[in-house]
């Protein structure tokens, strides 16, 4: 049985919206303390809608696929709609992820939320937020010798 679903493989091999946006309205950059990976999401916002989105990811196959999926899910959505996207939404849209890889989808969803937060902070003259380390998450799926 393959480790990853076909959807994951598709997004891994043909990632959508890779790149940077110059003069982005919001940037979410997250470092993952579990495995040291980094995800960066750029958004361009117009009339409260996400007009364009791009990402860069240093991470595993699941991390690349989840970032790609997040960008696809939010493109053209209102900020309010985009904010509702959680890591479960992303994982479901990819037909599931192995338990040990769920934290990669956390990373993607968190980076998105951070980009929106950054957009708002900038608008209020408080931004940009810069790079953030995600909090340690539940590692109950991780097998370790105790």
């Amino acid at each position: 049985m393959p480790i990853y679903s076909e959807k994951v493989m598709d997004h891994f091999q043909n990632p959508r919206n890779v790149g940077e946006i110059e003069n982005a309205d919001g940037v979410g950059e997250l470092g993952n303390p579990t495995c040291g990976d980094i995800m960066k999401i750029y958004i361009k916002v117009k009339d409260d809608k996400i007009e364009d989105v791009k990402f860069k990811t240093f991470g595993c196959g699941a991390a690349i696929a989840t970032s790609s999926m997040v960008t696809e899910l939010i493109k053209g959505k209102t900020l309010e709609e985009a904010e509702k996207i959680s890591n479960e939404t992303v994982a479901e849209a990819l037909d599931g992820l192995p338990p040990v890889k769920m934290h990669c989808s956390n990373l993607a969803a968190d980076a998105l939320h951070l980009a929106i937060e950054d957009y708002r902070a900038r608008k209020e003259g408080k931004g940009p937020i810069g790079r953030v380390e995600t909090p340690e998450h539940d590692e109950s799926d991780i097998l370790e010798h105790t």
Partner: protein, 407 residues
């Protein structure tokens, strides 16, 4: 993981022989009769047991021959991990009246590191000796770590990650000259590819894994020098000289025996076949890509191991792309490990955790050729560049370089 592009690339290149090797035809043929026709239990008295008993004795002789031991010094276990556990826990339980101190290196396999970790919960103390940047243990460090109550020193003969070969002979000499401790060599990665002569190595115990050298899974070898005592981990009948109870897995043992015989016969040819491929890959990759480094020792290394660090990208995504090109590799990155921790071996040789994420681990075997090496060298840069283009780390570096140029 499926390969989407199956039609385009039909050939599968296995560059992950440390995970699994295909059994040799001779091995399988030798095993075949013992599943259905010669299914007897070697411990019975009646005629059904005759052939299995003889086969068991033959396999033990073949294994002893490879290790330069006598056949009553060879114990069949279920795996390399079991052999390592038997060496460590078996010694600990047999000798706890003499002391509770054990020495290992920082780059041991988890079947060693986790075995000693379990023992610490029972009051044993463990010293982990460091290695240099090539992964070499300094025998003097072992000497300095020895104590009056040291009962065992266990060092890997060759690393399953970076391929570095240790000077077991010298370490054994130092251990025996300066203490009453037993010396165990974990040869689970080296056996079948380089000499594992127990007399030459001077070890009291040695573990080996025939499935790594074209034998069947489900067996392990354990050399226990005459007069050295370990407590069994599995108690029961008198199988394996009372050191490892349980009805013998005769088909697997027979296969292991043949794999040992083949290894002994072919050892030199194997090196002669593997070395040029290894050399080709190392020089091809290092010259074809920037910011790639070789881990492990340049010379004192197994002929079938290569370990690179590719900067700015992560190992699993590299592995997945190579997989799609028909090339099967492994990685020591945190993301590929089931415990999301990067390789303890890479960290022991001083590789920065961010760099260790770009770990690429290749292990060669009988089915590899120079053409495989050429194909890999041709495919890798495309994979690396694709992932680097996507990496926020590489982006930062590019900007830094540009800023420096602009200055």
């Amino acid at each position: 993981m499926h390969i989407l592009d199956l039609e385009a690339k039909l050939k599968i290149i296995n560059f992950d022989h440390f995970a699994a090797t295909s059994m040799r035809q001779e091995v399988k043929e030798a095993m075949d009769p013992f599943f259905i026709n010669e299914y007897g239990n070697p411990q019975s008295i009646h005629a059904l047991s005759d052939e299995p008993r003889e086969a068991l004795a033959r396999a033990r002789l073949q294994a002893a021959d490879l290790l330069n031991a006598t056949s009553n010094e060879v114990i069949f276990t279920s795996s390399g991990s079991e052999s390592n556990n038997l060496a460590i826990k078996g010694t600990a339980f047999a000798r706890m009246d003499k002391g509770k101190h054990i020495i290992v290196s920082k780059i041991e396999h988890f079947s060693v590191l986790n075995a000693v970790k379990s023992l610490t919960k029972l009051g044993f103390e463990v010293s982990e000796v460091s290695v240099d940047k090539y992964g070499l243990v300094d025998p003097q460090d072992v000497k300095n770590a020895l104590r009056k109550d040291t009962i065992l020193v266990s060092i890997t003969h060759a690393s399953n990650e970076i391929g570095t070969i240790q000077d077991i002979k010298e370490i054994s000499r130092i251990v025996h000259e300066n203490s009453g401790a037993y010396m165990h060599a974990d040869a689970n990665t080296s056996c079948g590819f380089i000499e594992t002569d127990v007399k030459e190595l001077g070890a009291d115990m040695l573990s080996a894994a025939p499935h790594r050298f074209y034998g069947p899974k489900g067996t392990g070898l354990f050399y226990l020098k005459k007069g050295v005592r370990v407590m069994p981990l599995i108690d029961g009948g008198i199988q394996e000289f009372g050191r490892r109870a349980g009805t013998e897995n005769i088909p697997a043992i027979v296969g292991a025996g043949v794999a040992c015989e083949l290894a002994k016969k072919e050892l030199k040819d194997r090196t002669a076949h593997l070395l040029p491929i290894q050399k080709e890959i190392i020089s091809g990759v290092l010259s074809g890509l920037d910011e790639v480094y070789l881990n492990g020792h340049p010379e004192k290394r197994l002929p079938n191991n290569i370990n690179f660090v590719v900067k700015y990208i992560e190992g699993e995504s590299m592995l997945m792309w190579l997989n799609n090109n028909g090339i099967m590799v492994a990685s020591g990155s945190a993301c590929t490990s089931k415990i999301l921790k990067s390789s303890h071996v890479l960290s022991a040789i001083g590789v920065d955790p961010a760099l260790a994420q770009g770990s690429l681990l290749i292990s060669l075997g009988q089915d590899n050729s120079l053409e495989d090496a050429a194909f890999f060298i041709k495919e890798l840069p495309g994979v690396v560049n694709k992932l680097r283009q996507m990496s926020p780390l590489y982006e930062g570096i590019k900007k830094e370089n540009k800023a420096q140029k602009d200055k």
